[in-house]
C-alpha cells in the first residue's frame, strides 16, 4: 500500500514535537476524518530555522507531516508557501489514492503556521 519512503517517514518521523518558543503555529484537519496536523515554526529573518509537528492520523498523515518538515527547514517563508500537498506526496514517491483527500494536508498546515507567523509578526 505505502511506498518505502512513506514507511521510512512513518517509522522514523523527523522533527516530531513542539517548539517551546515557536513564532508560528498552524493546525489543519478534522477529527471526523481522523486527521489533525499541527505545525510549529521558528522563523528568523524570514527563514525557517526550525519546524516541528504533532499529528493525529494514519500512516500517510504522519509521513506527510514528517516530510513537510524536512522540506521546509532552511527555506524562506515565501519559498515554503510554494510547497504544495502534491509536492509532498511526490517527495514520498506517491500516496494511495484514497489517502490524497484527507491525509495529505501537511503543506496546508505549514501554510497555516506561516500565516500565523505573519499575523503575529506583522
Amino acid at each position: 500500500m505505502y511506498t518505502e519512503k512513506v514507511m521510512d517517514h512513518f517509522t522514523n518521523p523527523r522533527n516530531v514535537g513542539e517548539i517551546e518558543d515557536a513564532n508560528g503555529v498552524g493546525e489543519v484537519g478534522n477529527a471526523s476524518c481522523g486527521d489533525i496536523m499541527k505545525i510549529f515554526l521558528k522563523v528568523e529573518d524570514g527563514v525557517i530555522q526550525d519546524v516541528k509537528f504533532k499529528t493525529f492520523g494514519c500512516g500517510a498523515a504522519i509521513a506527510t507531516s514528517s516530510m513537510v518538515t524536512e522540506m521546509a527547514i532552511g527555506k524562506t517563508i515565501d519559498e515554503a508557501l510554494e510547497l504544495s500537498n502534491q509536492a509532498v506526496a511526490e517527495a514520498l514517491d506517491g500516496l494511495p489514492a484514497q489517502k490524497m483527500h484527507c491525509s495529505n494536508l501537511a503543506a496546508d498546515a505549514l501554510h497555516e503556521a506561516i500565516k500565523n507567523y505573519k499575523e503575529q509578526n506583522g
Partner: protein, 404 residues
C-alpha cells in the same frame, strides 16, 4: 520475526485438515457434480457429505443447506430473496444499526427501491433493547434481520428471544451468524431462525465459500438464476473443493467448540485485563459483560491516537490486528458500529480490534502486552490531542459517524 495473527474476525488460515479434504477435488476428482458419468459421480457425494456436516453444526437438516460463495452473498440472498418472494405480504424490514455492510447496504439499496427499513438503535455498549423491536413491528413487516454476533465488538445478540418475538408475530427471521458459528452454540431450532448465514473463511475453510440455512418450507426467490444446482435455489457450478472444505471446517469447529471457547476466552480475558492494567486512557467498545461477547474478540479505543497508525506500528512487531478507523475501512468515515454506539469520533478512529483464533497461543498475548503500552505511548507523544487539555468524551449527537 514471529508473526502474531490477531485478526481472526477478518479471516482465518485454512486448517491443514481442511486443505487435505479439498486437494483431491483439484486433482483427480475434478468432475462437475451435475454430470452423470464417473467424473460427476466422484464428486456429488462430497457435496452431500458437506451438507450434512454444515447442517449438523447448526442442528438443521442437510436439505435445508444451500451453498453460496461467501457470507455477503448469503446475506444478500436472505434479504432480497425474502422480499421478492413475499412481495404481496409487506414491504417492511427490521434490522439493526450494527449489522455487517452485507446486510446494511442491502437494506439501504432496498430503501431506494421503495422498501421501508427500521434500523434498531443500540446503547453505548452496543446492546439492543427488545422493546424497540416489538415496537417497530407493523403489519407490513416481513423480515427481521439481526446478527448473531457482531464482528467488530464481539457482542452477542439475544437471538433466542428475538426468535420468540418473530414467532409470536409470525415474521420471518434472518440472522447473520458468520462470526458466531464455531465460537458459541448455534441451534436454528432453539433460536427459531428461518434463515442463517455462515462464511467459510472465518472458521478455517477457504475464502469463496459459504452457506445459507433455509428452513424447510421457506419461500425464497433465487438471487442467482440459471442452472438447477442446489435444488434450483442457487445457480452456478458448485465450488466442490471449497464446499468439501467448509463441511470439514464445520465438523471440526463444532467438535472443538467448547474446548476452544474456554481456551481462547482465557487468553482474550488476559489480554483485556492486561491492557486495562497497563495502558491508561482506554475505552472498551462493546459490552463489559464478557459472557455476552464472543470469547475471542476485544475491541479497545486508545484515546488520542488514530487506529491505522497503531496498526502499522504493531505490524512492525509482526502483530496483525484491525481497526475501525476510516483509514482502514475504505471509506472516509470510521466504523458505523462505533457510530451506532455513540463513541466519540476520535475514539472511534482509534478503535482497535484484537480477535484471537484456534492457533493463538499464550506467547502471542505476552508479546502484545509487552509491545503495546510503549507503542501507544510513542504515538500519543506525537499526537496534538494528547496532553493538550482537551478531553475526548462521548459525543452528544454522534451525527458525524452514524451512517444511518
Amino acid at each position: 520475526m514471529k508473526q502474531i495473527y490477531l485478526d481472526y474476525n477478518a479471516t482465518s488460515p485454512v486448517r491443514p485438515e481442511v486443505l487435505e479434504v479439498m486437494l483431491p477435488f483439484y486433482k483427480e476428482q475434478f468432475g462437475n457434480p451435475s454430470s452423470v458419468h464417473w467424473a460427476g459421480r466422484q464428486v456429488s457425494g462430497a457435496l452431500e457429505k458437506a451438507r450434512e456436516q454444515v447442517a449438523a453444526m447448526i442442528n438443521a437438516s442437510p436439505a435445508e443447506i444451500v451453498f453460496v460463495s461467501c457470507g455477503s452473498e448469503g446475506d444478500n440472498m436472505a434479504i432480497k430473496g425474502t422480499l421478492a418472494a413475499l412481495k404481496g405480504k409487506g414491504n417492511h424490514i427490521i434490522t439493526t444499526t450494527v449489522e455487517h455492510p452485507a446486510v446494511l447496504e442491502t437494506c439501504e439499496a432496498l430503501e431506494k427501491e421503495g422498501y421501508d427499513v427500521t434500523y434498531l438503535p443500540v446503547d453505548k455498549d452496543g446492546q439492543l433493547d427488545l422493546a424497540d423491536l416489538e415496537e417497530a413491528i407493523t403489519d407490513k413487516t416481513v423480515l427481521i434481520s439481526v446478527m448473531w454476533a457482531n464482528n467488530e465488538t464481539g457482542n452477542l445478540y439475544p437471538i433466542e428471544e428475538i426468535g420468540k418475538i418473530a414467532k409470536k408475530y409470525n415474521i420471518r427471521f434472518h440472522t447473520d451468524a458468520v462470526q458466531a458459528v464455531g465460537k458459541v452454540s448455534v441451534d436454528v431450532q432453539k433460536a427459531n431462525v428461518d434463515l442463517l448465514v455462515i462464511s467459510g473463511h472465518k472458521i478455517g475453510a477457504p475464502k469463496g465459500v459459504g452457506a445459507i440455512y433455509i428452513r424447510r418450507g421457506t419461500r425464497m426467490a433465487p438471487l442467482l438464476h440459471g442452472g438447477h444446482q442446489e435444488r434450483n435455489r442457487r445457480a452456478g457450478t458448485q465450488n466442490v473443493a471449497g464446499i468439501a472444505g467448509l463441511g470439514k471446517a464445520c465438523e471440526m469447529a463444532e467438535a472443538e467448540r467448547e474446548d476452544y471457547y474456554k481456551r481462547v476466552r482465557i487468553m482474550r480475558d488476559r489480554l483485556e485485563d492486561g491492557i486495562a492494567d497497563q495502558v491508561p486512557d482506554i475505552k472498551l467498545n462493546g459490552t463489559p459483560d464478557r459472557d455476552q461477547r464472543l470469547p475471542n474478540t476485544l475491541n479497545v479505543s486508545f484515546a488520542y491516537i488514530e487506529g491505522e497508525s497503531l496498526l502499522l506500528n504493531l505490524d512492525m512487531f509482526g502483530i496483525a490486528a484491525s481497526s475501525g478507523s476510516a483509514c482502514t475501512s475504505g471509506s472516509l468515515e470510521p466504523s458505523h458500529v462505533m457510530g451506532a454506539m455513540c463513541v466519540e469520533v476520535t475514539l472511534a478512529h482509534s478503535s482497535t480490534r484484537f480477535s484471537l483464533g484456534p492457533e493463538t497461543i499464550d506467547e502471542d498475548i505476552d508479546k502484545v502486552l509487552e509491545v503495546l503500552p510503549a507503542t501507544v505511548q510513542r504515538i500519543r507523544d506525537m499526537s496534538p490531542l494528547y496532553n493538550c487539555g482537551k478531553t475526548t468524551d462521548e459525543c452528544e449527537t454522534c451525527e458525524t459517524i452514524r451512517r444511518i
